[in-house]
Structure formats: C-alpha cells, structure tokens
C-alpha cells in the first residue's frame, strides 16, 4: 500500500510553546546562550541531508537519534525504522505540509529537545549522548515539566506514527489495514428519499 504523508494530530503537545512567556523564559533565556539563536531555523544542510527537502541538518540529526532510541526495531525482528521503512522521508514530507506556525513550533521543539541535555549532561547535545544517557534523558523529559512532556510526547508520536503507518510494519502486529477493497465490499450509494 502506498504511504501517503499528512500533517495529522501530532502537533498538539507543542501548542504550549506558542506562548510567548515560554519562548522567552525557556527557549531563549535558558538555552540559547550555548548554541545561538541563529542556528535555530538554519538550513545549512550537509550533503547527506539534501535528500530531505524540509528538515534541516540539525533537525535530521536529532530525529535520527531519537528514532534510534525509540525504535530499536532490528532487535525485535521488525523492519528497520531508518533503513527499511522510510520514517525520515515520511517525517520530511509531513513537515513540508505543515502550516508555518506548526513548522516553527516543530523547529523550536526539536531545538529544545536537542539542546536541553546541556543543562545536565556536561554540555552535550542529545544527538551526541550515548545510548544509555540518551534513554535516560528521554525518560527524564517524559517525566518532566508540562512543556517537556508535551514536547517529548509529540516528538515520539511524530516518529512512531510515521513508522507504523507503513504497511511493512503491519505483519508484525497482525494488523490488516484497509479492508474494503480487499474484501470486495459492495457500495450502497445514497439512501433513498424518505417517505413523507
């Protein structure tokens, strides 16, 4: 089955980021000192990132690392989330369809998620953490303040939906997917006008 890419209900948890107070207090005040806001929405892509049209190099690095932490699929005999299922391409295409406001929130969320470990892990970014520390960090964010939970839940959903929406992942779940055409179910059409 062809995988269609959309902008579904994944951005809900990022809504608190649109509050100016949070932007000012957390994103810019607390974290921007080490990285610099100029990189936040940057698009200076490395050659390997050029196959993605909408995600930046930094964003791809963060999402790739989070995908590795979230979905160690090969260990479970599932199709690889990075090599078989085009999770990143799905995410890239979804990103391209986002409204500008949602796109900016996603950028901000990824930037926070990438840089927040600098507060607790000796100035290391998330994508540089080893497996154990990366898992520890994700768990801490999941149990953190409301905006940290919102960011983490949203990014996790963003990735996992774009993995499991691919029909190659379904046999592992015994999930059947769309069935009407497979079953040859007859269409009934419009109901007849009611008798008055």
């Amino acid at each position: 089955m062809a995988t269609k890419i959309t902008t579904p209900a994944l951005m809900a948890g990022l809504e608190p980021l649109s509050r100016r107070s949070l932007l000012r207090g957390v994103a810019l005040g607390g974290l921007a000192f080490s990285t610099g806001c100029s990189r936040l929405f940057g698009r200076k892509d490395a050659p390997e990132a050029l196959k993605y049209k909408h995600l930046s190099e930094d964003e791809i690095r963060t999402i790739t690392r989070l995908t590795e932490v979230l979905l160690p699929t090969e260990q479970h005999g599932l199709p690889s989330a990075l090599l078989v299922v085009p999770t990143m391409s799905n995410l890239d295409e979804m990103t391209g369809q986002m409204q500008p406001q949602s796109r900016e929130l996603l950028s901000l969320a990824l930037w926070i998620f990438e840089n927040r470990p600098k507060m607790s892990f000796k100035f290391s970014r998330f994508s540089k953490l080893d497996d154990a520390k990366a898992r520890e960090y994700v768990l801490a964010m999941q149990d953190g303040a409301f905006f940290e939970r919102g960011i983490t839940s949203t990014l996790k959903t963003f990735i996992t939906v774009n993995y499991w929406r691919d029909s190659r992942t379904w046999p592992g779940l015994d999930y059947t997917g769309p069935v009407t055409e497979k079953w040859g179910v007859r269409r009934l059409g419009n109901a007849p006008l009611p008798l008055v």
């Binding site: 979230l70 768990l139 839940s153 269409r187 059409g189 109901a191």
Partner: protein
Amino acid sequence: MKTEKVFFSDSVGAEARKEGLDVTQGRTLSGDVNLSADVVVVGSGAGGAVMAYELARAGLRVIVLEAGPYVPSSEFSEDFTESLERLYADHGSQTNKDGDLLVLQGACVGGSTVVNGCVSFRTPDFILRDWQEQFGLSALTPEEMEPYFRKVERNLSIEENAGHEIARHSQLALAGAKALGWSVKPFKRNIRDCALTGHCLSGCKTDRKQSMLVTYLPWAVAHGAKIFSDVTVTQVISRAGQARGVIAEAKDSSGTTVANIRVDAPIVVAAAGAVQTPLLLLRSDLANGSDQVGRNFACHPSMYVGARYPEPVYAWRGALLGVYIDEFLPPEKGGFILEAGGLGAVEMTLITEPGSGEAFLDYMEDAKYYSGLVTLIHDHNVGRIGWDGDNKRVDYQLADVDFDSMLRAIKAAAQVHFAAGAEEVFVPSTKPLRIRSVEEIDQVLSELSNAPQVLRMVSYHPQGTCRMGSDPDRSVVAEHGESHDISGLYVADASLLPTSIIVNPQVTVYALASRIADQLIARREQYLGNASKGSGESG
C-alpha cells in the same frame, strides 16, 4: 462584478442521485460572485444538512456553503492519518490552548457525520428537564422531542446493534460489566448493513454509515438545494436587526482565495459547529447582546482506556463501537458513560505512554491483545471559543470537579477491564502509568493531577457556545433556534446545547435541527416578506 444565477429546481417529484453529490467546488469559481436565495446555510454537517433538506422540501430556495472539501466516499482511504489530513478540521490538529485536548471535528461536506462512530443516542430526559429548569426551554419536553427523534431515527436507519455487530472488544466490555452487575447495552447506530470494516473514523467507503453525505444532503439537492464546498463564510450581513445574507471566500486546494462570494438571503442558518459558529458571529460582531457567544464551551473530553488481555482481541476487527455501559449516566451516580470501541494499529501509539525503546516495541508488538473503553463525562461549560488576532483560540481547561469525574471514569473502565480478564490497564496519560490489578487502581490514579499535559484527552463533541435559552441576557438564541438579537439568523448545530449531554450528540442535533426547521417554516412569511426592502447592510 459577476452575478451568478442559481437555478433552483422544482422539488415536486424529487429524486435523489443514486451515488455521489452535486457540489460546486470553490476552486471552480473566480472573481466576485453574487448569489441570492431564501436561505443560506453555513455548514453541511448534522444541523446544516437537516435544515437544508427540510427547508428545501418546504419549497424554500436553499444554498449551503461548506468550508471543507467535497470528498466522495469512493475516495476514502481507511487510513486514519491520511483521513485526519483530508477530512478533519485543521488536518486533525485542532487543540486547546494548552495543547492537551485534541478537538476533532469533520471539515468536509457532511461535517463530523462523515467521520463519527455512528453512535446514536436520544437526548436523555433528565438533560431536557435540566434545560427546562435552568434555561427556560419549556417547550423542549421529551414528549415534544419524541416525534423528531423518531423521524430522524427512521430516516437514518438507526437500529440497535445486532449480535454480529458486537466485536470481540465489545464482547469483553459486555462480559466485564455483567460480572460487575453494571448496566450495559448495545449501541444504536445510524448504519445500513454494516460491513464491519472498523474504519468509521476515516469515513465509510461503502456508504453504509448514514452520514449527511449519503442522506440529507443528496435529499436536499433533490429538492433543489445548491451546495458549495471550499467556501468559508467570513461574515453574516444584517440590516436593522434583520439577517441579510453572508460574505464568503472560495478557496482552491492550497487555501488560496479564488473568489469572493456574497449571498443575499433573508434567512441565515449558522450550522458550522460549536467552534466555527461562534467564531463567525464574533467576527461579524452580531447576535452577542448577551455576551455569551463563544462562552460555555463544553466538549465531552474523552480518553481511551486501553488494556492488555491474555488472548488476542484484534481491536481493529469488526464494528467500531458495540456496547456502552450506562451504569453511571445519571449525574448523581457520576455522570459518565463508557463506550467499548475499536482501534487501529497506528492509533495504538497515541493512547498511552508505553515508554521508549524496548518498552515501546514490546507494547506495540502486543497490539492485537489490546482492547479499550472510551470515557465520556458530563463536563461543565467552562471553556470559551474566541479570536486571538487572526487565529482561533480554544480555551478549555478541565474543571477540578470534572477532573474527579475523569478519574472515576478511568477507574470504572479499569474495573471493567479487570472483571473481563485483562492483565493490565494503560492509563491515558503522558506519563508511563500502568495498572496491574484492581487493588492498584487508586494508587496509580493518585499520581495524576489536574494540570496541563497530564491526561491524553480528545473531544469529538464540542458544544454549548451559542446556547439556547428563554432569557436574552443569558443565552444567544431562543428555543426555536433564532437569535435573540437578529431576526432571521438561526443557529442549528451543537452550539445550541446549554449543557453537555454526556452522550454522543448527533441525534440531538438532528432532532433539534428538524424542529428548528419546522419553526422556521412556520415563520417563513415574516422573513421572505421583508426580503425586498431597501439596502445598506451592516454587520
């Protein structure tokens, strides 16, 4: 300026198309378009479609303007994520300000009726009594509403689920409730010969769901109504306290405005849903003498309480919704119901926080063992819909008293699951919480608090933002649906409901719209007689 002539056909001997719908799509329009009709209906969902049909059948010239696209059922994909993008408001990302309540509404021709689960309840009698006592809606008695309920139930093939429509997930809920001695019943649904695909929320590909797309809208067209899709109404026009029509924009598929539309009509029916209708009235600066437009937003915040069973359930197989537990329906017993519902594999990733890495994969690999119960509570009207510049704003934070109801509903769902043999219950939270026995329920739930980003809530039933009432200082419209302030301006959607009704509201909206149509028809001369007088609109 281009003036489009709309030809309204004679409705005598009307016959509906066998399949599909005659719709003028916004992208085919250009420039300035002027239309005229007796009635312009804003929105084509449960309220708008019923109004369009009933008014067209009575001989009125009706134009329906729908902001969403026309998607024929043959194009439905049975892919929930794709359906969110194509058929739902804001591509399925409409949320409250805190981002922890997803407000899912259909945004296509047929509205939410296209993507709902077919659940069909009459308004509970105690809710109607409450409306009489609190809001002076003295005419809305169970006896008055009875023929309207009966009519829409007949028109929409609403029947109780038969045995084969109680899928495995619902059989478990049935067994659990019976073991606890709790009241449990099969749903009634508006469906003909259900094909048991389980994809209701992505639209019914074979037209078995009796949504507005295959019933009232084609019937309205058969009686001469004209439907336009991709047309967003931006303003209701009035003059000297009388409705005069609407201003709208037609969009192409990219959302670019391709035509500016004006519809002159002495009767305007706002039926865009409980989020969009108040936004339209607020933007029009109309009908708000009470300052109640947009206030009193309630939404039945619901959660999916999942559980793992020792034997496969395959929650995606069979009819999506089979039975409901109404043991706690009366407010004095809790004011909530539990609905046994199916779920697809992708949606499994959304309902709880299973952890990361191995834990997440372990969770997903067991997907076929999961079943779930949807909680619906009688929430209070504490929210508000409004504008924040050019963006809509949904203010809704669960009231403390409603949070207690949510906890009671989760607890009851967990009890049902364990009584049915579940091994563990997943708490619908952003924290990785699981309950492994009845004894653990209270302790685990004590870790929840009424704060943003704690519960995973979804609203399928926004309501209350233009409430009915007899007092113009406390309500937006009278019990016959007409604005207290603007003659000829009607509201006919879930905005009307003065309180949340606990149960799924589609039948309530159908029945109220049918009644409002009758009331409007009885007053038709009042508006049509005024239609030709003067000009100089405002609004």
